[in-house]
Symmetry: C2
Subunit: 243 residues, 2 copies
Amino acid sequence: MKIDIIGKGNVGTHLWRAFQPECDCVCVSSRDLAGLRKDSDIYIICVSDNVIAEIAEKVASEADKNSVIAHTSGSTPLSALQNIAQHKGVFYPLQTFSKNVELDYSEIPLFIEGDNDRTENILKKCGQMISDRVLTADSGTRCNLHVASVFGCNFVNHLWTLADNYLNSKGLNFDLLMPLIKETTRKIQRTTPRKAQTGPASRNDTVTIGKHLEQLSIFPEMQEIYRILSESIVRNSDNQSIK
Amino acid sequence: MKIDIIGKGNVGTHLWRAFQPECDCVCVSSRDLAGLRKDSDIYIICVSDNVIAEIAEKVASEADKNSVIAHTSGSTPLSALQNIAQHKGVFYPLQTFSKNVELDYSEIPLFIEGDNDRTENILKKCGQMISDRVLTADSGTRCNLHVASVFGCNFVNHLWTLADNYLNSKGLNFDLLMPLIKETTRKIQRTTPRKAQTGPASRNDTVTIGKHLEQLSIFPEMQEIYRILSESIVRNSDNQSIK
């Protein structure tokens, strides 16, 4: 299988690393497409959502008409590729990619969509070269997964950034939180997050919540986030938890 | 060393499990204190913040005058124990405890405070029986650690609850997010959370953010949280990240 990856950002770089030992794969920059091959089986477009259609059309003008052109975006429908003549698909890896952090690709869930069964089969075979979890998902399902992943990953990581900033401002090291963070993650592999919830808001401990809001008075951004997330926890909580 | 733990909630239960193989330890209910011993070296009060002073005073009326009485609260100052005659201290484990989830106690950072050096030494020795990371921290430092841990653990877990609720409402399983969640946690052990940030807001991808907010229009609570956290990410971001 011959695969061309278009885009050298976080996703493109990681997909290239994953495919390179498995098949004949190149990765080209989306800026000039230098090195793009005309006779590849699959072209995987790994660019920002707002330029997917434009880059896909440039690739389509070069590529074999029997090839598959797929994008990797969670929130972009398959129909974004409607203007190209080739077979159209989506190859969405549900993972967070940073160039400098190595990954075990075999565990990444890959969500496949194709304009017909043949396209889906090609993309599935392609996905199975690198991952043990290749699933089909239509554009609506993929959007739902993407929204959930923003909460489950991007927002979570941002809370850690805020905690890091806060501790630094107090002369404390974020490393002190690592055992807690590891355990928070480990726990939900054994129980549901709802059952795993602890902390002042889950006990509706208004005194501690009030103290914390006061401590955050010189950090208005964190204070607002603290208030809104605590209110949300109180509303969602069974209040069965005791510290 | 003889230790009495007061309170059978999440913290009391876990501390009892941790100490039991190491020393002579009992755990009694804070409701009736039945089984409390008069001649223990340390009494560790593991109750809700709002009843710490009251329960500590009841324990103090029973306990040997040379003993140490300590609470386990992040946001309660040592001075909450001012009305008791015994030595006073704090024994704060920076961890999330759920009764039904086993833990490796040796990795839990324990923050110790005492009313004098002797008390701190006793509490340190006590802590070192179960943990490899026993540190001293005054009440102000402990409050700062507690606020950071609410962001780093309690709020993070709640975002997972919201993601779980959302996926369930769409007929999808939260397990699909587990590889992503594990990787999110693994990444910040290799880089800072700021550098690990990915997602629409870190790219200031207003089109995707707009789509997601629209998808969340029938989940107003999640929609508000999405908006506020995305705005916070945009403000904190270097905008160097490319998907």
